[in-house]
């Protein structure tokens, strides 16, 4: 398995190796998809509580004492020290904006709506 650069990537890679979509994974394990999505994208730090980390490891099929377990713990520890940035760069926002979209009843979004949409995307990336 390729080494993931951070906890979120590692988490996502393991989940996908189980053949589970984000929603399936969350449904089976009682997790919130919004939170797990943010964790996987590095927008939330790994949990600091040992019990929670163990719960995630179990859900990902990672057994204590294995190489994957060590990597999971290492990445959780190193990533936990990095607080996700509060300020999102314009580039990140640009990458996450919609290009082709159609709204309900085909109403155009005006300047005010578009600025509000940009703010929402920015908040989503925090």
């Amino acid at each position: 398995m390729a080494v993931s650069r951070n906890f979120g990537n590692f988490f996502k890679q393991r989940r996908r190796e189980l053949g589970l979509t984000l929603r399936e994974f969350c449904r089976i394990n009682g997790f919130d998809p919004g939170n797990i999505s943010k964790l996987e994208r590095g927008l939330l730090p790994p949990p600091s509580a040992k019990e929670k980390r163990l719960q995630y490891a179990n859900a990902l099929g990672i057994k204590k004492g294995t190489d994957d377990w060590l990597m999971f713990c290492d990445l959780a520890t190193t990533s936990a020290g990095k607080i996700p940035q509060d300020i999102v760069s314009d580039e990140e926002v640009m990458n996450a904006l919609p290009v082709l979209f159609r709204t309900i009843r085909r109403r155009s979004l005006d300047e005010k709506d578009l600025k509000k949409l940009i703010d929402s995307v920015r908040r989503e990336l925090r």
Partner: protein, 206 residues
């Protein structure tokens, strides 16, 4: 700057959808696992986005860097068929409109607003139609549609035998049941039935 609209026929898009399914779901087993294809097989993020529909009237969208599909959180939680359709529609943009995403002219939020305001609804509607056609083809593959319609009609044979002529809304009713096999909303099937000329291929009376 206007968008370069690729002219694609319904059958062009059908071919692209078939090619896509051959690559990512060659068994064609129903229902098409669109979410698993996108998330697990293709490695695109599917991101639940709170209030996307409520605040902006958007069901979902493909991000400008083509790495994620954002979907209204309530839809992804509660409206399975609509959710599947949104994913397939956005996947259509991913597959069909790559070049459009490669030439985006905005570099800042202000430029984005200016650019998006300059795009007319007419221009956008071409792309959206492509997305709708692609979603219909991928979720309701041609190779299954006729067979499923045939089976549903055969199931209700005794009821239909009483008809002297086919009621106008007959295929709308059939679509309701056929849609359950594909896990889509009935209008998706109704359009596919029309586009594939299924009414001319299946004998109902006699």
């Amino acid at each position: 700057m206007t968008l370069e609209i690729p002219y694609l026929t319904y059958s062009d898009i059908g071919k692209r959808a078939q090619d896509f399914l051959s690559e990512y779901h060659s068994s064609l087993e129903l229902p098409i696992p669109i979410e698993a294809i996108i998330d697990v097989k293709m490695g695109l993020d599917i991101v639940p986005f709170p209030n996307l529909y409520k605040d902006f009237g958007l069901s979902g969208y493909l991000s400008s860097d083509r790495t994620a599909i954002y979907v209204d959180e309530i839809q992804s939680d509660q409206y399975e068929e609509k959710y599947r359709y949104t994913l397939a529609h956005e996947l259509g943009h991913y597959v069909l409109h790559k070049s459009c995403y490669e030439e985006l002219p905005f570099r800042s939020p202000d430029e984005y607003v200016e650019w998006r305001e300059s795009i007319t609804n007419e221009e956008i509607s071409w792309f959206e139609t492509h997305g709708d056609w692609f979603a219909g083809y991928v979720l309701v593959p041609s190779c299954h549609l006729e067979t499923v319609c045939h089976n549903v009609i055969a199931k209700h044979k005794t009821t239909f035998a009483k008809f002297k002529k086919i009621p106008e809304d007959f295929w709308s009713y059939v679509s309701n049941e056929v849609a359950t096999y594909f896990e889509v909303n009935p209008p998706v099937v109704e359009i596919r039935i029309k586009k594939e000329s299924i009414p001319t291929k299946i004998q109902i009376i006699g």
